[in-house]
Every structure is written in C-alpha cells, then in structure tokens.
Symmetry: D2
Subunit: 257 residues, 4 copies
C-alpha cells in the first residue's frame, strides 16, 4: 500500500484543493536508482459529480499502480465538470496549467506526454474526454468508463425542468456552462470538438445495457480508429471498476510502455 | 487528542461533504454514564474562503473541546459564503436543515439551542453572523473572529473590477449572491438583517489595527447589548486564534453552561 | 458514502489510536427519529498483521454498512494479534474494556451484545475468534475470513527459525506471547480455549485450496453446531472480500436482526 | 497550505507506516524550474511517546516549511523510541536505511547530508539526538525541544516500579531496550555515545523550570561547542512550540542555507 492524501493551495481555484495519490511500492520505485532520477508514468483519474476522489479507494486503483509501476492521481473535482465555470473557478485551466506543475514538482512523475494519461467515470468520463480532446499537448491516452458524455442531453433535461440524472440542477449547470441553450457547438460540447481531435487514443467501456450506450456508440464512431470500445456482457448493476479498471490500465500500458 | 474526519453525502449539496470533529477525551465523556445518554454542547466553526476545515487544526480548537467538555464541528464550506447560492448549492439550507440532523444522529450532541453555538473567521465570520441572525431557532451564541462582515463593500469592489480581497472574483460572487447591485438590503446583507435580530448573544474580537475595524464597530453598535466586543492590543499580524479562540469559547461556556 | 477517520487517546495503549468507521447514510439513520435515540448494531473488523484499517477501504465494507443499516468499526491493531502483550500494550483488555466505551459514548451504537459482532481477516481472524471465545459477554457473532487461526503452528515455525508467514519475527512473537514453547494450552491458544466456548455463533469462510484449510476444518469441527463453514470454489488468489464480506454480513443480519 | 498524509509499506517494520509531510507552496517550488530538478532541504521531526505525527499539526510546522522553502517530514514512531527494539521492529534501521530511500524516491528532497536535519520533542528529543550521534552520515543538524534525553533515569524508575513519566511501562521499555539493568553505556545511552560524536550541530531549547533542565545542561556540556542552548524564560506550561519551533528552524536555515 502506498497511498497519499494531498492538500495544497491553487491560485486558479482561489483556495485549497485535495487529491489522492496512489503509487508503486518501493521495490518498484527502484531503490537502486541511486540518484532518484526516474520519472513515472501518470494516470489522472476523475470521479463523477456527487462523489469525491475517496470513491476511487473502493476500486483496485492501488493495485493498478503497483502492478504497472505507475502513479495514479485522483483530484477532487467537485461539481465543476472539469470546466472553466461561467460563474466559478476555471477548473479546466487549473487541470491544464497548475495541477500538472504542482504534481511534477512534488512527485517523480513524467512530463513526457506519452506517459500522461487521463480517465474518468460518471461525469468524469465527460471531463476526461474533454481534457484530452482540447489538450493533446499534455495527454495521449484517455479511459472512458461507464458514465456521461453527451452534456447537451443533460442540459436539455434541465431546460425542460426534468431531473438531470447527474447531481446537478439547472442553476448549477448554468454556473458551469452559462446559457444552456447555447451548449451545442460550444467549447464544452465534446461531440462537436471531437471531430478536430487529431491525436490521442481512447479506451471506452460500458455495459451492454448501459443507460448511455447509444451516445457511447455515437462518440466511438466519431473517434474512428482512435478508439478501442469494449461493451461488457454484464448487466449495468454488475458493471464494476473491479474488472474494467485493471483491463483499461493494462491497455494503456501495453500500448505505451 | 480526539479528532475525527467525517465524510458523508448531502442531499442538498448533491454530493459528498467533509467536516472535522473535535471532542473531549473519554474521561470527560463520562464513561460512568452507563447508558451513554449524555448529550454535549456543540460549537460549529466556519473557516474562511480559500481555506478548508483543516485550517482549524493549527489553532487550539482541540484543547478548547477538551477543556470545556464540548464538541466542536468544522464543516468544509468552500466558497459558498454559507449562502443559498444563486447558481449552486443551497448551503444555508444545508447548514440549517441537513447538517444538524446528520450530526445529531451520528454524535451525542445536544439539540437544545442553548447548547448550539456558531462561530467563524475570515469570511466565516460573515457566515456565522448570518446563520444566527436568520436562524435563532437553532443557535444562541455567535463568535466573530477577525474577518469580514460587510459583504456589500466586497461586492462593490467586484463591481468596480477591483480585487475583492477574499479569494472571490466578480463571477464567483454572482454565483453566490446573484446581481451584486441588489446586494444591499437583500437577505444576504447582515447589516440590514441585524436590526431584526431578537435573540442570541455575540462575542466579537479583532485587532485594534484590523483592516475591517470600522465595519466591526458599526456592526457591534447595531447589535447593542447583545454583543461583547474585545479589541485586541496586538498588531494585526499578531492577532492569532491561539489566544482569542480559547477566550471566546470560555466566554460562551461561562454564559451558558 | 459515510466514512469516518477517528483518532483518540487510549489509557491502556498509553497513547493514540486510530480507527475507520463506516455507517449508514442519513436515510437509514432515521432522521424522523426526532430524539435521535436509535442505537445501531455494530460489527468490529480486525485487519491482518502488516496491514492497517485502511485495507478495509478496498472491500465493500461501506456498502455492507449501508445495505444493512449497521455501523462497522475497524480499529488499527498493528502487530498486537489482539493480545495482552507480554512486552507491550494490553490490546485484548483495550478491545474489551476501553474501545467499547469510547465508541459507545461517541456513536449511536448498541450495547446489546446481540448486536455486537466481530470479524477478521489474516491474523485478524485469529484475533476475532479469540475475542468472542474469551469474551462472550460482549460479542455474539464472529466472522472468520481466510487467514490464520493456529498460532501454535506459527510459533513453532519461529522456534525453528523459519519464516513465520505473518509479518512477525521470533522476537516480535515473543513480545506478544512470551515464551513461545509455552504457547500450546495457554490463554492465547484458541484451539484449547474453543472447547469452553459456550455461546456465540461463527461464520467461517476460505477457499478450497487455502493454505490453512486443514486448520480451518479442525477449528470448525471443534466449534460443532456453532459454526457455519463455507468453503469457496475459487482459487486462493481469487478469494476476495468483495464476495465473501457481503455474504458474511448478510448471514449475521439474517440470524440476528 | 501544502499538507500530505503518506501511507506505505516498510519491509523493516513488517507492515504499513504513516507520515505527515509539510512542504512549500508552489511559488517556492519554483515552477519556473522547467525540468523539476530542484531538491529541497528536509527536516525530519519525531513526536513523543503517547502521541502521533498528527500532534505536529498543532504547531506552526507548515508555516516553517513555507517560510524557509523546506520539506518537513514527520513519521509516526509509536512507542519505539527510535530504537532497534529488542522485541519488535528495528526502528533505527528503518529510519536510517529505508525511510530515507522511500521519501527520496517519492519527493524532491535532497540527499546531501548538509540539507538533512532531524529534531524531536518529548521522547522524540531522545530519538533525534540518538539518530544524529549514531548516524552522522545522514544528518548534520539536530533540534532538541523540551523533553527527555536521559533514558537511564527513565529505566531506573521502571526498575524501581515507579511511574516512568513517558507513556511506557517496565515491560514496554524492556521490549525496546532489553535488560534495563544494562542500559547505561549501551548503544541506547546517548550520554555515553555523545562523547564519540564528531560532527553535527545541535540546537537545544527548554524552559528555565523544565523538569529535565539538569539533564539538558549536562548533555549540553557534553556537546561542548557543537550546541546552541536556549533556556526560555517562560514557565514550563507556557513553553510552546509556537515560539520555539520557528526559532529553531531559522537557526538551522541560517547556519546551513
């Protein structure tokens, strides 16, 4: 077990933030590396709205870090949807500019984009996809677990005063995205942005009866040969990160290390 | 040392929240109370914007809980200013309706309002004052440490595009309060609300050279005989909760227990 | 998620101790219980030597607390083997006298022994079995997961200067048990003690190829009709608490609630 | 605030250990250091018996890290007295061989002994003094705060069946040191060892009425010109790390950086 709780100040967020860090044990940390100069690959993981980075502790995330000799860093993202909020903190900038710097200074993680990967579950799937599409300068692999990609559908529900399904209200979605009527085609709409994605490889996975299977299929089609899409045979309630997280991390490591 | 980190779900916040809990050691917990039926007074403490509840660990908060045989509960309040946000979570409702219930179910704290007190530092001073003024049904004592009370002044700075001084931008203040031009006299303006305050006793303290000394004096005048106001002789940079927190908690205990 | 990290002082241990607490969310906490008088059943869980209570976070322990409306409390037990150490802290006394009182004062847990249960994995299995056998006045159900019961076998390995297999050396075992030659038949030898066990029900589970299957069978035989023994069909490396913990907790709840 | 809770496995300890890490914020972390190659000085701090590394949070330890641009690492040392226990874990070896490697691999701390310092309070004062005296190959500065140095005096109390005064019993001291009659002159007796100390500089501080003032004076005399000894004018109950920790850290930084 090598598990770290990290708290620090962010200038962009105007305050403190927290993250959980999972890392290999010392035997993988190559203690014969006398000058301690090795830099490790790093997977950034985003939890879903309504949760916190603590949620990852219920998954085999630590074992994945150990087995593959990588760092896994899970920041708390709150309800920001990994977005430069219209009313609120510029979370996308923070992820892009600040978080990278803070962690590269603090831990022996690689700044080679080949070894910087991102993934997410629930609304974190949307956040991870958006980050790699808009920021191919810092991420080269993306893991999309069962969750939400089509935020336009969510915004439309809010506009119709329906439950959004994602621990967000109309007001809180407006704080994030601004005018919800203008969502489609905006810088937040990954179904539009994805057509410009020139690099990066994606691994998508969900259950065959997942609520959002159709949007996953559409998104996979838009990604074309950039994506490996695994549809699980299990029922949605049996879709668990216990199985899919290790497979997904293996996929990354096999295709990059 | 009896120190607890608490994480749970809030329906109002649409997700997880955290709090730190400080409590007396077992000798004060009256282990001869065979049925474990004793209920303890509780002080709710609010940190300032830009900080977290972790900040309280740097103060003698734990010793105050031990010395006085009380619970002290410090929730993370983020940048909500303890307010039902215009775009965002209804933090005031959560503090009023939900947090009380969750903690009363989980810990042996009193639901007698005589033994429910609130306090804050920085912008938490504003939050604490607002809570007791608007909710005299749940709090009877309020501790106001060096910080901010006059949010209209802050909003005006934001409207003039000046730095707000409180880890908030114009956009983030609008997410909290809505139209900043309409702040004065609104349900968020404690300088207006205070004239209706019928009950509750206040303990205010700041340095003689505090940045906000004038607004503290005005607010104290509005409180009239409901307030005990201590102006410290130290310089602002020497104003520390090491001294003022124990004095303030003593004041509460002397006037209620 | 309702997850608590608890730190307090123990007189018996001569210092601080930590525990993780998992509890039902507020809807199960019966917030309509206006006087907050309900007391919840509690399962005490012991981790194995070499680990900490953090290890439980990797299991569905939280979901078990939620699904069954119970508290689960996992103290850090270090390398004490839940024993009044010959050289060191009286951990058994602490578990029996002090921990119960501290937690009953702090959380709404039942002091009815019908609703106080204990379980363990690894060397925690030994600790849990010992506690219920020697202290039927405080526990009525015991969960024994894959692990170690026959400490005499371990002590004999140490006496032969072999690896013990349990993150203990000969010296550290002597600190716990005293003279290892005198272990058999001592107050630490649960294979002797078990014949006096008059009450309590046990649920034992391990893999069909478990290293210690034989000692589990012997122990189950000694327990007679007090035990429900489930031998899993999985390979040892696939034996995981993901499956067995929820089944075991269900067994308790079905037979007591 | 940059505050880290660290958990990892130790081979020497046969299990998990915890530490708290305090570090400078990002502006001091030189984010213009494009290759993230800077290595920071590090102060290792040892808490007293009966406490945990959490105790340091009540001191200005974080501010000291920020003000001086250094890492401060506070491991949990339990009741080991920083000693290779006679019955138990080889804590001195762990501090010397393993902890250094683990943290140098994980954080950007210097392996230059000029920038590796150690300090302690309570029984941690004894531990810190012992580490630098016996291991001048890894530490060059030592901070000794109010506490205990003369373990022979403590052992003699235990042999006379008196209270030891340090959260240790005769049995637990024997687990640490072995035969207490043989303590004097042993490898644990720093009053003997100190005469061989060839390098390292010490900063000692205690109150003018401290319980152990006399042993501090004797130890300071033995250290000769290697020590700076500050006797505070405050009463023992007013001796607080709030004042002395920053002064002591300043002393280190002024004499080394």
């Amino acid at each position: 077990m090598a598990y770290i709780e990290f708290n620090a100040l962010s200038v962009y967020l105007g305050g403190s933030f927290s993250a959980k860090v999972f890392m290999p044990e010392m035997d993988k940390l190559q203690l014969d590396d006398a000058k301690h100069e090795k830099r490790y690959p790093v997977l950034w993981l985003l939890h879903g709205s309504g949760g916190t980075a603590l949620d990852w502790l219920r998954t085999p995330v630590e074992q994945c870090a150990i087995d593959n000799g990588i760092f896994i860093i899970a920041p708390d993202v709150g309800h920001t949807l990994c977005t430069n909020m219209d009313y609120g903190a510029p979370y996308e900038k923070y992820m892009h500019d600040e978080l990278q710097g803070i962690f590269r200074n603090t831990f022996p993680i690689s700044d080679d984009i080949e070894f910087n990967w991102i993934g997410g579950v629930g609304t974190g799937a949307y956040g991870a996809a958006k980050m790699i599409i808009k920021h191919p300068d810092i991420f080269t692999r993306c893991l999309i677990f069962d969750g939400y990609l089509d935020m336009k559908k969510i915004c439309d529900r809010a506009l119709r005063d329906e439950l959004t399904g994602i621990h967000h209200t109309k007001a809180s979605l407006e704080a994030v995205f601004g005018d919800l009527n203008k969502f489609m085609g905006s810088e937040h709409d990954i179904f539009t942005l994805v057509s410009d994605a020139k690099s990066g490889k994606f691994y998508m996975t969900c259950s065959k009866d997942a609520e959002n299977l159709e949007e996953y299929k559409v998104f996979a089609e838009l990604l074309g040969d950039k994506v490996t899409f695994e549809i699980g045979n299990q029922k949605p309630e049996d879709y668990v990160l216990e199985e899919t997280l290790p497979k997904a991390v293996n996929w990354i490591c096999e295709t990059t290390l």
